[in-house]
C-alpha cells in the first residue's frame, strides 16, 4: 500500500462525504436485511477501518448483535509469489463459526475484484454462511473478475494508471478523504 512517485489528481470525497456515505451504507443494509444479527468482516487493512466505521453507523440504525472479524487475504492471493511487492502476512481474527450467518464483507476500494475473490476463498474455510454480501466505500470500476458490490458508497470512473486511496484519521491522516492519485513512471 502506498507507492512513491504519485501525484494527487483529485479528491473525490471529503470528510463530510465519507460520513454521509457510511451512514447511507448502514441504512441500505438495514433496509435489505431481515434480521438484527449480521457479521461484519473487514478485509485487512483498509477494509477493517471502514468496517469499524460501518459498525458504529449500523448500531445507530438499529442492528443489535453485530459480530466483527478481520480477514487477511494475503495467503489467498493469486499473485502471492509473483507480485513485485511482498506484503507481510497480517492477522486474521475470526473467532466464530460463519455457518448460517449473514455476512457483510467490507473493503475500502473495489477495483479488479481479485481481492474479493481471495476473500471469498478464505471465508469458505470459516464455515458456510447463509449469505455473503459485499460493502465498499468506493467502487472504481475496471473489474477483471465477475464481482460486484452489493453496497457501494461512491462509484467513480478511473484509469489504470491511477490509484484510489481511502485516507482516514484513524489511519494517521490529518482528515478523512478519498483521493485519486496518478502514478508517475
Amino acid at each position: 500500500m502506498g507507492e512513491t512517485n504519485k501525484i494527487e489528481k483529485r479528491v473525490i470525497m471529503d470528510a463530510r462525504a465519507v460520513e454521509l456515505a457510511v451512514s447511507d451504507l448502514a441504512g441500505r443494509i438495514r433496509a435489505t436485511s431481515d434480521e438484527d444479527q449480521v457479521c461484519l468482516i473487514g478485509i485487512q487493512t483498509g477494509g477493517v477501518y471502514v468496517a469499524q466505521r460501518l459498525h458504529k453507523a449500523m448500531e445507530t440504525v438499529g442492528f443489535k448483535d453485530i459480530t466483527f472479524g478481520r480477514l487477511d487475504i494475503t495467503l489467498y492471493r493469486d499473485d502471492i509469489f509473483t507480485a513485485l511487492q511482498q506484503p507481510v502476512v497480517r492477522s486474521t481474527d475470526i473467532r466464530f463459526d460463519l455457518t448460517g450467518k449473514n455476512v457483510i464483507l467490507v473493503d475500502d476500494v473495489l477495483y479488479t475484484g481479485r481481492t474479493i475473490r481471495a476473500a471469498l476463498d478464505a471465508l469458505v474455510d470459516f464455515g458456510r454462511p447463509r449469505r455473503v454480501r459485499l460493502a465498499v466505500l468506493v467502487d472504481r470500476g475496471l473489474r477483471e473478475y465477475p464481482i460486484q458490490a452489493d453496497f457501494a458508497g461512491r462509484t467513480v470512473n478511473t484509469d489504470a494508471n491511477e490509484t484510489v486511496q481511502v485516507e482516514l484519521v484513524e489511519m494517521g491522516f490529518e482528515r478523512d478523504r478519498v483521493v485519486v492519485y496518478e502514478r508517475q513512471s
Partner: protein
C-alpha cells in the same frame, strides 16, 4: 541486497540479518492463527512439492514439518534413512539427483554430517531447509525457541537467556547462540567443561562452570538433553551426579527471575537434566515450543516458496 521477506535456503541462522529473522518470526504470528482455525489450511503452497529428506531419523521434527507443509496445502513426500538407497551405498549426491526427478520444489533435510544441507544447496535446484546437520545447526528449532521467547516476553533485545548442558554436541545450542546474539539477547552458557566446545568464549557469551551463576536473574533457561549415547564416552561420571550438579530443579530455578521461562528442545530425560516438577510447572513452555514449531516452519516454507516463485518470473 537481501530481501528480508524471502529465503533462498534456510541452512543456518549464522549470517541471517536481524531483519530477516524478525520477518520470519512476524510471518509465524500469522501462521499460528491458521492453526487455531476450524479448517487449518491455507492455499499458498498449493502445487508445491516438499520432500522430507531425513537421513538421520527424527519423528518429531519430521512430523512438525509435514504438518506445516500440509497446512500450506503443499504435497509432501517422505524419504527416510531406512527406506533409502543410501544404505545400499548410493552417495548423498546421487540420491538427491534421483530425488530431483520427482521435481521437488523444497527439500527439508536432516543428516548426520555437518554441512550436508549446504552441500546439496550448491548442487541441486531446489530450496533447501536444514532440519539438522550433525552438531552444526538446527535453524528452525532456534527460530521456534526465539518465537516462544518473543511471544511470552514481548521482545528478544536484552533478554538474559541461559543455555545449560551439552553445548559441544548440540546444534540446537549453536543455532540459538547465533540467533539470540543477532537479535540482541544476552547469552549465558553452563555445563561440564567436557561438553563445552573449545574457544566458545570467542562468541560474546558468558561461560560458567556451574548452573547457578548462569541461571541467576535469567529471563529464560533452556536445558539441553543429555544424550544417553554420551554416557559411555568419558564425559561425566553418572546421570545421578549430572542431575545433582547441572540439572534444573525447583530450588535452582528460584535463582532466576520469578517469571523465567523454562525451555527444552525435547525429548526430555526427566530426572536427569530437568526434574518432572520443573518440566510440568507453570513456568515451563515446553509444549508451547512444539506448537510454535509448526507455525515457524510454515513461515519458513512460505518464505522459501516465495523466493522460488520470484525466481520463476
Amino acid at each position: 541486497m537481501e530481501n528480508p521477506n524471502t529465503l533462498n535456503h534456510l541452512l543456518a541462522l549464522e549470517g541471517l540479518s536481524k531483519e530477516t529473522v524478525t520477518s520470519i518470526l512476524d510471518h509465524a504470528v500469522g501462521f499460528k492463527e491458521v492453526s487455531k482455525r476450524r479448517i487449518k489450511k491455507v492455499p499458498p503452497l498449493r502445487g508445491v512439492t516438499v520432500v522430507l529428506f531425513f537421513i538421520e531419523n527424527s519423528t518429531r521434527t519430521r512430523i512438525s514439518f509435514e504438518v506445516a507443509a500440509k497446512r500450506l496445502s503443499a504435497d509432501t513426500l517422505n524419504f527416510s534413512a531406512s527406506t533409502s538407497s543410501l544404505s545400499k551405498g548410493e552417495t548423498l549426491l546421487d540420491t538427491a539427483k534421483n530425488l530431483m526427478a520427482m521435481q521437488p520444489d523444497i527439500i527439508v533435510m536432516r543428516h548426520f554430517a555437518p554441512g550436508a544441507a549446504k552441500f546439496l544447496s550448491e548442487r541441486i535446484p531446489a530450496g533447501i531447509v536444514n532440519a539438522g546437520d550433525g552438531p552444526h545447526a538446527h535453524p528452525t528449532q532456534a527460530l521456534l525457541d526465539m518465537y516462544t521467547m518473543r511471544e511470552r516476553k514481548g521482545r528478544l533485545e536484552g533478554l538474559e537467556v541461559a543455555i545449560v548442558g551439552d553445548i559441544a554436541h548440540s546444534r540446537v545450542a549453536r543455532s540459538n547462540i547465533h540467533g539470540l546474539l543477532t537479535m540482541g539477547a544476552k547469552v549465558r552458557l553452563a555445563g561440564p567443561r567436557t561438553m563445552l566446545p573449545t574457544m566458545i568464549d570467542r562468541f560474546p557469551v558468558s561461560v560458567h562452570d556451574r548452573i547457578e551463576p548462569a541461571i541467576e536473574g535469567a529471563d529464560v533457561v533452556m536445558m539441553l538433553r543429555i544424550q544417553k549415547e554420551r554416557m559411555g564416552k568419558d564425559l561425566f561420571p553418572s546421570d545421578r551426579e549430572y542431575a545433582r550438579v547441572f540439572g534444573l530443579d525447583s530450588q535452582k530455578l528460584k535463582l532466576a527471575k520469578p517469571d523465567c521461562l523454562v525451555m527444552h528442545p525435547g525429548p526430555m530425560n526427566r530426572g536427569v537434566e530437568i526434574t518432572p516438577e520443573v518440566a510440568d510447572s507453570t513456568q515451563s513452555v515446553i509444549l508451547e515450543q512444539v506448537e510454535n514449531g509448526v507455525a515457524v516452519r510454515m513461515a519458513v516454507l512460505f518464505m522459501v516458496a516465495r523466493h522460488l516463485g520470484v525466481s520463476e518470473e
